[in-house]
Symmetry: C2
Subunit: 309 residues, 2 copies
DNA sequence: TCATATAGTTGACTTTGACAACTAAATGGT
DNA sequence: ACCATTTAGTTGTCAAAGTCAACTATATGA
């Protein structure tokens, strides 16, 4: 995909900006008796409990030779000690000494205070949330997926708007749909909220590492026989695809429908949404009928799926 | 305001993470004949056109002595030259030589390519937007307001959802309102979208530095005499407050109403929204009546304001 | 006018970082 | 079982970066 020059400019501007931020925070460490690199080693070892010199050198992007000398100095200073070489006798596991633990705690407290004072303190609650979530998003986007647990939970205030925003934009970029879709789903989510509590309804947010990774809801189907539930608004954030989140959401929605006494679950989707269709198929839904229609500025083929419980 | 330990942990995790990202990008510079620090000086001077050594030393957080020596080296290498000292004869302005310009262009291209390859290339369009906007948000939150121009423009796809999300969350955090408010404004924005084009309606997004800084809309008032416009959903993002954005939005909305032939503008607000009230007053609105009501989980005092055009 | 601040220079020194050569131990394919 | 290869760690050497202080020349402001 072609790369946008403005995006590069923004990224490089951010890199320059954040280089200064990091420098600012590191300056705060300069009144400790340890150099910055020593402090980083102490911090990394403290975090891990025990580790080999080379594994720390790797995460800190350091030369192994340099690490070797610094480790010797820290041993001399009584901050850390090597443990007996068990198993692989090339590798010398290290750990902080009790004194090292104290140093670690102190450095940690200093770093925490520096980050809090310089970054969080000037912001109000809204700004703090924004800052933290923007950082989380960057980490999510740029790092390999880790194996944090997926949590399904009810939605919180502001998240319906978030879902409208994300899906409006996503289907615009991926499918070329226009603003009618965003308007439609704004109503759909509002209608979900104001629907009565009975027959049962439920909406799930899939949360991963503090971010909204997906969502789905179940609502009693309108214009259908009683006992029919409708599954709506299955959504998986592009940054979290390929991790079975869609399947988890659909499974949970079906489980809820069954447990709530529904005898059937129906849903409406478009045939261009391929990965969603696969999930529905895998969950046991069958295609009942199709219908061409013009919506969201596109020619679509609507599909009606159903699952008898 | 008390500082959340989880926020600090997230910020420090991001700092560690991004330190590695920056290191990765800088590694790419190592096959140029210039050292990293030299490259940074060349880049900074190239960006500015001309600058004194100390001003560059300041932005790059360098020692002035070190800068002095590096400048000498770069002069020897024919990359930059000092200009005649005019005005303040202590300060020696510098600029890149023609050869320096070439070096600058080359370093720039290398950095651009490194940023593009390492960060943008692996992402899809959605991820790239996310990354860039998260970076922009962090810069906005952590740096002093600059004087970029405020742009009022129509909304783009996804931005209604964004406004619902932001306002739902904002008024929850600041006023304690519950999810009913978010649901209500989801409908209000959807109704705006589906309202006919006549009588005239209009929605403005206030954009600042590529971010949504605020919004407002004008729609024909329901249940009022023809010729009456309703001003709704004035919103200024907390990160952009105190810069006259609310005033700009209201002024533009009033200007539009007048130009569209409306004879009156009305609006509904709550007395707890103090800064909004000040803006309405300044724009010439007068308070017509107040009415206590229970909404959004709070006891509110609704105010009806009007402006005859 | 005189104390103070600023731009730039120079010297002395420490820390960091890069690279290569080396030992000892582990690994993996034949 | 053997041997080439890889890995963990050490040591030597050197260049680059960063720190600190002293110094000159000029500018600024009470």
């Amino acid at each position: 995909m072609p790369i946008n020059a403005a995006d590069i400019a923004q990224i490089r501007a951010f890199n320059r900006f954040y280089t200064k931020v990091i420098g600012l925070l590191e300056d705060g460490m300069h009144n400790s008796p340890y150099t910055l690199t020593e402090a980083r080693i102490i911090y990394e070892l403290g975090r891990r409990g025990r580790a080999t010199a080379s594994s720390i050198a790797e995460t800190l992007d350091m030369d192994r030779g340099q690490m070797s000398r610094l480790v010797l100095r820290l041993i001399d200073q009584g901050v850390l000690a090597t443990l007996p070489r068990i198993g692989d006798r090339r590798a010398a596991p290290m750990a902080l000494t009790p004194h090292g633990d104290k140093v670690f705690a102190h450095l940690n407290a200093m770093s925490d205070a520096a980050a809090a004072d310089a970054l969080l303190e000037p912001l109000d609650e809204f700004g703090r949330r924004d800052l933290v979530s923007a950082m989380r998003r960057i980490e999510t986007l740029l790092s390999e997926p880790d194996d944090e647990p997926l949590v399904l939970r009810p939605h919180r205030i502001g998240e319906l708007g978030w879902l409208i925003h994300r899906q409006g934009l996503l289907y615009h970029l991926e499918q070329g749909w226009n603003g009618e879709f965003e308007t439609l789903i704004a109503r759909i989510y509002a209608d979900f909220e104001t629907a009565p509590a009975n027959p049962p309804k439920s909406l799930w947010i899939a949360e991963l590492g503090g971010e909204v990774a997906g969502s789905i809801f179940i609502i009693p189907a309108a214009d259908e026989a009683p006992g029919t539930a409708q599954l709506r608004m299955l959504y998986v954030d592009p940054a979290f695809r390929g991790r079975g989140i869609g399947k988890r959401l659909v499974d949970e929605a079906v489980r809820f429908s069954r447990a709530s006494g529904y005898s059937k679950v129906i849903l409406w989707t478009q045939d261009c949404l391929v990965s969603a269709r696969r999930i529905y198929q895998a969950a046991g839904f069958t295609l009942e009928r199709e219908e061409r229609h013009q919506s969201f500025g596109a020619d679509l083929n609507g599909q009606y799926w159903a699952l008898t419980l």
